[in-house]
């Protein structure tokens, strides 16, 4: 176990203890529930997030950390639309870093369990800025991505909620890099096939051989979420 993992474990433990030590919000009074209107049409939520981020795959670095910021507005009761910006260090091999900045839009269905749990699930998509840094063959590119988001929040003080947000995104996998694995660069790509297959000569000469490597990858993030409602 390296020092970084010990540091991460200590930080997560401290965060969990801090959450546990927070005095729970007073149980909702049926006569004047302060959270009754929090999911009504017109409500607005502002969220900040921090936590874990990772790429799934066979040859990928260990996950690292990410932070995020976003805004939601309820366009119908229990339905919100929102925009989020995240910065995620997906992993490192020595000095080489895999960095991602998702700028996304999402539609989320919220509900309430009991008096103090506000779970949600939604779909989103947007622009994913991807950067390979200090790899010897650095990369920076934008590509579209889609994701499923779900989580739950609980009131911790007036207008403030704390919870966990989990996001599973599907994004195109960058080509092979000296530091990070990926599909081989020297292959006919889809844009090349769109051109080649237009001609008879291209149809007879452009084939894929054993090209079964996945061209997309799943990105996970698990973050603590602090939300202010108003």
């Amino acid at each position: 176990m390296n020092g970084y993992r010990v540091l991460c474990a200590a930080a997560l433990t401290a965060a969990a203890l801090a959450c546990a030590a927070i005095v729970p919000a007073r149980a909702a009074d049926s006569a004047a529930d302060p959270w009754a209107g929090v999911m009504k049409r017109g409500s607005q939520w502002i969220s900040t997030r921090a936590g874990y981020a990772k790429v799934s795959g066979d040859i990928v670095p260990n996950g690292r950390m990410g932070i995020g910021f976003g805004y939601r507005r309820f366009v119908l009761d229990k339905w919100s639309v929102g925009g989020f910006a995240h910065y995620e260090l997906l992993g490192r091999f020595a000095d080489a870093a895999d960095i991602e900045v998702p700028l996304t839009f999402e539609v989320v269905r919220h509900s309430r369990w009991g008096s103090s749990v506000f779970p949600y699930v939604g779909l989103g998509g947007g622009v994913y800025y991807r950067k390979y840094y200090r790899t010897g063959a650095d990369l920076s590119a934008f590509s579209p991505g889609r994701y499923l988001t779900f989580g739950a929040l609980t009131p911790i003080h007036r207008r403030g909620m704390l919870g966990l947000d989990i996001r599973m995104a599907t994004v195109d996998k960058p080509d092979w890099n000296p530091a990070f694995d990926g599909p081989p660069d020297q292959r006919p790509k889809l844009d090349d096939l769109l051109i080649a297959l237009k001609t008879r000569a291209g149809q007879e000469s452009t084939f894929m051989f054993n090209n079964d490597v996945s061209k997309s990858q799943t990105h996970w993030s698990v973050k603590l979420d602090y939300t202010v409602t108003y």
Binding site: V75, L76, P144, L190, D191, L197, K198, Q203, D212
Partner: protein, 209 residues
């Protein structure tokens, strides 16, 4: 050219001045099934195919429905079922292969439907949307004269826009049927991908007053 702009202007005016006495805050889930026809350069590499879709939206403004849209489009490649002679790279031997090759496009994005001249049960609409599209080609060998490694897949995700027209007819309660035709344009690197999807729709909705 001027006639075309007059038509565009007339349609814009219709959108800007729709009927007012419509139900508010209607939520609706719509299923779509139909066919897809490649257009432009994409028609040279793909043939017509099938389409399926699902959208969920609401009408916060009486004449405008907005929401999330998922779509799936499948068509055979121009090489599907054709036989080619190749040199197998692992052995260097000539091999005759008959290919199975398909294009699939998945779409995830937002859409809006502007209902114009909605009267009673009948609701014509104009539709527009923006989405992320994943274009994928998959290749496999149907038959071959010798062992071969031909096969695989390629895909790329891009942004695209869509626009179209349609009509829906309320059958009973919140249930409706209809048809719609939508043109999709995907901004790829060198050759844009475009196609038209025409299909029947089945909608389920509810109105919260």
């Amino acid at each position: 050219m001027s006639k075309r702009w007059m038509m565009v202007g007339a349609l814009a005016l219709l959108c800007a001045a729709p009927t007012a006495a419509l139900a508010g805050a209607e939520s609706r889930v719509t299923l779509r099934l139909g066919s897809e026809s490649p257009t432009g350069p994409f028609r040279e590499v793909a043939s017509s195919g099938a389409m399926a879709g699902l959208s969920a939206g609401f009408r916060a403004i009486p004449w405008l429905e907005s929401g999330v849209d998922l779509g799936y489009f499948n068509s055979a490649s121009v090489r599907n079922g054709e036989t080619y002679g190749i040199i197998e790279p692992t052995t260097g031997n000539p091999v005759s292969v008959t290919l199975t090759e398909h294009w699939t496009i998945t779409q995830f994005g937002l859409y809006s439907r502007a209902f114009i001249f909605e009267r009673g049960r009948l609701g014509p609409f104009l539709r527009a949307g923006a989405a992320t599209y994943t274009v994928r080609i998959s290749q496999d060998v149907q038959t071959s004269s010798a062992t071969t490694t031909v096969g695989g897949n390629e895909q790329v995700s891009k942004f695209g826009l869509s626009g179209g027209v349609g009509v829906r007819y309320v059958v009973a309660g919140g249930t409706s049927i209809g048809v719609e035709a939508v043109y999709h344009h995907i901004f790829a690197r060198d050759t844009d991908v475009s196609f038209t999807a025409i299909g029947a729709t089945l909608g389920f909705g509810s109105i919260s007053k």
